[in-house]
């Protein structure tokens, strides 16, 4: 339930609704979309990435000298969890064709394609299989399937959204494989939303010029992820799943090729060496680093681990100066602060409204622009609503959707969203939600080509851990597509590569070399990475833990 003092503002939202409904029905944009200059201005002044302390120069490794997100630089300038001299690589604990690091969407898609291309794999994953950002996407997946749409139009939309920094070959792969992914997933058993005649039911997303957002109600990610997991589990002879065993370093061979990884059993605290002919990093994003102190939409294990292990081994990173804040994270009630309110709500006609009941931005600008506009409305124009705990937010008018589409529409199409709020006595079919940007997505990542190869032979990357395909700003629906397209490609190409490679002597010398580089750069720190899990122990408790031993954030 909203506190009494918000009533006045809520009444204003109701009052302006009929007018705004008319606008929506007129078929014209409900608010004038920004010009290129306006976009630039609002980004420069209000996007968190553009604040002075948001970036700093990284002092070691392949991207040395580049300005990147401060928290990422901190994470990269850190110590390994292992002492290389303690690791015996002469008798690896496991041997396989492909080590897949990360059991989310990209990892599972890769495992399926690897197996179909004749390779065996091991999935090393941090939590349970499928405890991943992939499980959480609600909005949907882009793919140009409709006659009035085309893959090349999708290409242009993605490029514009990414401010034209996207790598063209990657965007082509993404958009051209899209329709096939829709079909592949359906054959695996994904239940897509459809029109009665069997054609795909599609909606708009931020930055799309055609409706091409495919969904499974608002459990899109959950349905796809569980289907992929189930398929992986149906082939235990070809895919071995190691849960609660994240990979904490890569292994190279004496010729500099990637040759597997060192796994850490988080429960028994043992380390294991996995020898693999090819390795795929599919570790997802980094929301749990709480960049700029923001709350996040991400799952518990999203700590950017893949970046660190690849970087220490010499892989290039791309666009690590750009962070995606989702325009609409929940800010009220406090218990769900940071939770994602899917963009599909705006796709279906939901409008961001200030405390006076006014529209102040086109609802479907690219995410960075929309986020910056929301922040401006709250911080500069002071037209936001403050919660009892001091957070700012603006309204997201969901009841409007019920008026457009008829009552029952939200319940049917956004059951997860309705459920999330009804627990706190807020009925979003009748009252709007209060929202503010939330840390959402790692735009950049490890640099790859359209075969998912990196500059290290035998090392492949797919999904959110990779960088380049989205430029500096990903559009909604393009990352579910991303992990499918590139997960599949990584599985296939890694399997082909694994057939021909024979590894020489295994080593983790690169870890020691990186330590030396830190020393030479005079970097003194007690930071340890991969981070693995965030640290949520209250200070009071920490002070009393007199004999507790922490490796980084992990006890």
């Amino acid at each position: 339930m909203y506190p009494e003092y918000m009533r006045e503002s809520l009444t204003l939202v109701e009052k302006t609704r009929p007018k705004r409904l008319e606008l929506e029905k007129s078929g014209k944009p409900v608010f004038r979309p920004m010009t290129a200059q306006e976009r630039e201005d609002v980004l420069n002044r209000f996007h968190p990435d553009y604040q002075p302390e948001a970036r700093r120069i990284i002092r070691v490794g392949p991207n040395k000298g580049e300005s990147i997100t401060t928290e990422v630089a901190d994470m990269l300038e850190s110590h390994s969890r292992i002492k290389p001299e303690l690791i015996d690589l002469s008798k690896p604990d496991y041997e396989t064709d492909i080590l897949i690091i990360g059991g989310g969407g990209a990892g599972c898609a890769a495992a399926i394609l690897a197996m179909q291309n004749g390779a065996k794999s091991i999935i090393s994953t941090k939590l349970r299989l499928g405890d991943a950002n992939s499980m959480m996407s609600q909005g949907g997946m882009q793919a140009a399937v409709k006659p009035q749409d085309s893959p090349t139009r999708h290409y242009l939309d993605a490029l514009g959204g990414g401010h034209f920094d996207n790598k063209p070959d990657l965007v082509r792969a993404l958009t051209e494989d899209g329709p096939e992914v829709v079909k592949w997933l359906e054959e695996l058993g994904v239940v897509w939303d459809k029109n009665p005649d069997g054609s795909m039911y599609v909606l708009h997303g931020g930055g799309t010029s055609r409706k091409r957002m495919h969904s499974c109600r608002d459990y899109t990610g959950a349905v796809i992820m569980r289907t992929l997991m189930d398929e992986v589990r149906n082939h235990p002879d070809k895919v071995t799943i190691l849960e609660f065993m994240p990979t904490i370093e890569l292994i190279l061979d004496s010729r500099g090729r990637c040759a597997g990884g060192i796994l850490y059993n988080m429960e028994t605290e043992e380390y294991f060496a996995v020898k693999a002919k090819a390795t795929i990093i599919a570790t997802g994003g980094y929301g749990r680093l709480h960049i700029r102190g923001f709350d996040t939409t991400n799952h518990y294990g999203a700590t950017g681990d893949g970046l660190v292990i690849a970087y220490r081994a010499g892989a290039n990173l791309l666009y690590m100066d750009s962070v995606q804040y989702h325009p609409t994270g929940a800010v009220f009630p406090e218990q769900i602060a940071g939770f994602l309110i899917t963009e599909k709500i705006r796709g279906a006609g939901g409008q961001p409204i200030n405390k006076f009941g006014e529209l102040f931005v086109f609802p479907r600008e690219p995410r960075d622009v929309e986020s910056a506009a929301l922040i401006r409305e709250c911080l500069e124009r002071k037209n936001g609503i403050q919660t009892p705990s001091g957070r700012w937010g603006v309204w997201l008018d969901s009841p409007l959707i019920e008026t457009i589409e008829g009552s029952g529409y939200l319940e049917k199409n956004f059951p997860a969203m309705v459920r999330q709020f009804i627990r706190y006595n807020i009925d979003i079919t009748k009252e709007p939600m209060l929202v503010y940007p939330s840390l959402h997505y790692q735009n950049g990542g490890i640099e790859t080509n359209d075969r998912c190869e990196t500059n290290i032979p035998g090392l492949y990357v797919a999904g959110e851990a990779s960088g380049g395909v989205h430029g500096r700003n990903r559009l909604m629906g393009n990352s579910v597509l991303d992990y499918n397209v590139f997960g599949r490609r990584a599985g296939k190409y890694a399997a082909q590569y694994a057939k021909s490679v024979s590894l020489s002597k295994l080593t983790v010398d690169h870890v020691a070399d990186y330590e030396d580089e830190l020393k030479k750069a005079r970097i003194k720190t007690d930071r340890v990475a991969p981070v693995l899990l965030p640290f949520y122990t209250p200070e009071e408790v920490r002070k009393r833990q007199l004999t507790a031993h922490y490796e980084g954030t992990l006890r």
Binding site: P29, L127, D131, M135, M136, A144, K146, P147, S150, P151, T152, Y155, L156, D157, L159, G160, P168, E176, P179, V182, E186, L188, G189, V191, K194, P196, D197, S199, M200, S209, R210, K211, A222, V223, R226, D230, E231, N234, E267, F294, D295, H299, Y300, Q335, I336, L379, Q386, G390, R391, W392, P415, A416, R419, Q420, F535, T537, P538, E539, V541, R555
Partner: protein, 248 residues
């Protein structure tokens, strides 16, 4: 919710206030019993927040933290009440006197099958999940479901071979397993739901002719020329094209 996060966020989200608001009321506390041991926690915390507030570092029992993954199944009782309650730790609020324990894992095997070789009718359930026919219609599963799904109804629909109904009723299932540990017939409901969804998606959903047409076009390399052109364009050309494009 989480002490550390909140402090950090406040710094960001209300920059015009240098100091924490003096008028902010002190946290109201409540007592809960985590695995049988009393802890004082904020009275507006979720169960997961409370566990962390009490000083535990969660390794098992948290995944998405937003009600999607089902990693955080929790059982609890309330004082003076004989009933067993179930919920998700990440979205359920604590209550005074709550006596709770998380279930780190729900033991349940999943039969192996090849989706290509199944038929989309009752035989699939008969073969893989014969135990569903032991359902005694006690409705305990439905009462246990944190998603408020009609769990018993979808098991009954599976017995009838009504795959569409199972798909529809189990659509929002999180595979948390709370139904399965309560079921006297030892059924693993969520696996039945998942199988039904896969059968429906693959075999029963109406196919899209547009999709087939698009796949033919891609295969025939219809877009190659256009791609080649776009991929060669400079930024200013692309920009022009982009800002001039029409929107559906």
């Amino acid at each position: 919710m989480m002490a550390k996060k909140k402090v950090a966020l406040k710094k960001k989200a209300r920059p015009e206030k240098a100091k924490p608001e003096p008028s902010e009321p002190p946290k109201k506390m409540t007592t809960v019993f985590i695995m049988g041991k009393a802890h004082q926690v904020p009275d507006d915390a979720t169960i997961m927040g409370a566990i962390e507030y009490a000083g535990y570092q969660i390794k098992r029992g948290a995944g998405c933290r937003e009600g999607f993954c089902g990693a955080c199944a929790t059982v609890y009782r309330m004082p003076g009440d004989y009933k067993i309650y179930t919920g998700l730790a990440c979205t359920t609020l604590v209550q005074e006197g709550m006596w709770l324990s998380q279930l780190p894992v729900i033991p349940a095997q999943k039969p192996i099958y090849e989706i290509e070789k199944l038929e989309p009718n009752v035989t699939a359930f008969q073969k893989l999940y014969p135990e569903i026919f032991r359902c005694v219609a006690c409705n305990t599963c439905t009462k246990a479901c944190p998603q408020s799904l009609e769990v018993m109804d979808y098991i009954q629909a599976a017995i009838r071979g009504d795959i569409e109904k199972v798909m529809d009723l189990s659509f929002d299932c999180l595979c948390c397993g709370l139904c399965a540990i309560r079921c006297p017939a030892e059924i693993v409901h969520y696996n039945v739901g998942l199988l039904a969804k896969r059968l429906y998606g693959r075999y029963l959903s109406k196919k899209s002719p547009e999709l087939e047409e698009r796949l033919r076009e891609v295969k025939a390399k219809k877009f190659d020329k256009e791609y080649a052109k776009l991929m060669k364009m400079k930024k200013d050309e692309l920009e022009k094209l982009y800002y001039a494009r029409d929107t559906e």
